[in-house]
């Protein structure tokens, strides 16, 4: 039997209930919360500020330094605190997802620190983290060429679905589960981050991108509304 009905009853292109809000951490220069259903991420931005040690400075452009931290109690089986190989990799892909759209040449010699915490995890944590971080950067007033929005597209059995959950990630029947997190820029619709785990026919990648593009436009709308001061919580 193919995957015609999603485990949580959503439509193929439907996001989970979104939460989005900025200004949640008063001490930070910019901050935001973004949640896809039960996956909740917060992010804070500090900077731009002079980068120390000085030899790390780039005289031509600022750098973004990102830390993704999945809290020990955010998952069913306690995660060991502190950096792991996984979290280091996600920190790096988040830096790359954001660096391409920030006007880093305006901030030579500086660093922008982006701290991300996952408070509760049910898949797509890196995407929620990137969405929160992008909002926090904009909230901090950092000049950006474009906004970015991130979403995890899944191929569950042979069906392309948007914003997959842990239960969908674990789906084993038919062609199994393929997880394709995308981050897409708001104006040029370019890909600033892309990963893939699983198996997908080469000719179906465009279909996954199209689903991601469609979802990214919806997410952008939430991000923009939140940045204008709205506290979005679709769980209510």
């Amino acid at each position: 039997m193919s995957y015609t009905k999603r485990l949580d009853g959503r439509k193929a292109d439907e996001l989970r209930p979104i939460k989005a809000e900025v200004g949640i951490i008063p001490n930070a220069d910019g901050s935001a919360l973004f949640a896809f259903g039960e996956t909740v991420a917060i992010a804070a931005v500090y900077g731009p500020k002079p980068l120390h040690p000085q030899h790390m400075q780039d005289p031509e452009r600022g750098i973004i330094r990102c830390v993704y931290n999945m809290l020990p109690f955010s998952v069913t089986e306690r995660a060991r605190p502190g950096p792991s190989r996984r979290s280091k990799e996600i920190s790096m892909i988040t830096e790359n997802a954001l660096s391409g759209v920030v006007e880093l040449k305006r901030f030579p010699g500086t660093v922008i620190d982006v701290e991300i915490m996952i408070l509760q995890a049910n898949a797509s944590t890196r995407c929620a983290g990137i969405n929160a971080a992008a909002m926090a950067l904009a909230h901090a007033g950092i000049v950006m060429k474009e906004m970015v929005s991130s979403v995890s597209i899944g191929k569950i059995d042979d069906k392309i679905v948007t914003d997959i959950t842990k239960a969908e990630e674990d789906y084993e029947e038919g062609e199994g589960a393929t997880d394709i997190p995308f981050t897409i820029s708001s104006n040029t619709h370019a890909i600033t981050h892309l990963q893939l785990d699983g198996k997908i026919q080469t000719e179906r990648l465009k279909e996954a991108y199209d689903a991601a593009l469609k979802a990214s436009k919806k997410i952008l709308d939430y991000q923009t509304r939140a940045l204008k001061g709205e506290k979005i919580d679709e769980n209510k």
């Binding site: 990799e89 892909i93 391409g100 890909i191 892309l194 198996k199 080469t202 465009k206």
Partner: protein
């Protein structure tokens, strides 16, 4: 690590004319050499050279408890080090993010392609399974360590022999090998990285080209039947990719797979018979 801007400019300038400073075309690999059996205590080992880039990989096996969510499957652990031996830019110490990324991307290509038959690595469900440990070392980094690491890992797995296992004592007799190969499938992953400078895509950068590269995307691909399947993908660095560029990457990957895979596979199969 910075290279002089004059080199970067030169690399960029010739790329705009679809050329490379070493005379290659955009989608040409440098010469690839594969050697196996480089360390006899390893269950399997391989050296891959792509031009002046050199990587060695060793496969070790051990018996461990399975993961609770896959009680009847063996496990895979992949590690990578850019040791100071491979170039002056590297320092000793625990693996940094560049090495971690190489290990994780190689791991995903092997894991997601189902190249290793993990179910056949189960000794006693829920209690004892074989663990495959892949260790990758950069010996000389002249760019594109990632593709070299993936190819060397596949070669080392293909020549690897299972160690003896004493069922009474439930211990591995390290250093004593059976004639059995590590259980593998036909889904051999082929991993390729595309780089981007301005709007030019190319593969297999040398050191200076890699330092000039603005973005990259890696694909691990298999062709189990007639279809090409992407099993892992990872975009790296800052540059943005348009969907058109991504589609070009996929198309070139399919072409490169057809052009190179059989030849490389034949090379490895010949080494397996040695």
């Amino acid at each position: 690590m910075e290279i002089p801007n004059i080199n970067k400019n030169k690399i960029t300038e010739v790329l705009e004319k679809d050329k490379r400073l070493d005379g290659r075309k955009l989608f040409d690999y440098r010469d690839i050499e594969i050697e196996t059996g480089i360390s006899k205590n390893a269950e399997g080992s391989a050296r891959v050279r792509i031009g002046k880039t050199e990587v060695i990989v060793g496969v070790k096996m051990d018996v461990q408890e399975p993961y609770p969510d896959h009680e009847d499957e063996g496990t895979l652990i992949t590690g990578m080090e850019f040791s100071p031996i491979s170039g002056e830019r590297y320092e000793s110490g625990p693996p940094k993010i560049d090495a971690i990324e190489v290990a994780r991307v190689v791991d995903r290509g092997i894991r997601e392609s189902k190249f290793i038959d993990f179910k056949k690595l189960c000794i006693k469900e829920g209690e004892k399974v074989w663990s495959v440990l892949i260790d990758i070392y950069a010996i000389n980094d002249d760019g594109n360590i990632l593709d070299a690491s993936a190819l060397a890992s596949v070669a080392a797995l293909m020549v690897a022999k299972m160690p003896e296992y004493d069922e009474k004592t439930e211990k591995v007799k390290f250093g004593e090998f059976t004639k059995d190969s590590v259980p593998l499938t036909e889904n051999i992953p082929f991993t390729m990285t595309f780089h981007k400078i301005k709007n030019k895509l190319f593969i297999d950068p040398n050191r200076d080209e890699e330092d000039t590269s603005e973005g990259r995307v890696t694909l691990a691909i298999t062709k189990p039947k007639k279809e090409y399947i992407i099993n892992a993908m990872q975009k790296g660095d800052m540059a943005l990719f348009s969907i058109d560029e991504l589609e070009q990457v996929v198309k070139e990957t399919e072409k490169l797979y057809d052009k190179m895979f059989n030849e490389l596979n034949k090379k490895i199969e010949k080494l397996m018979k040695k």
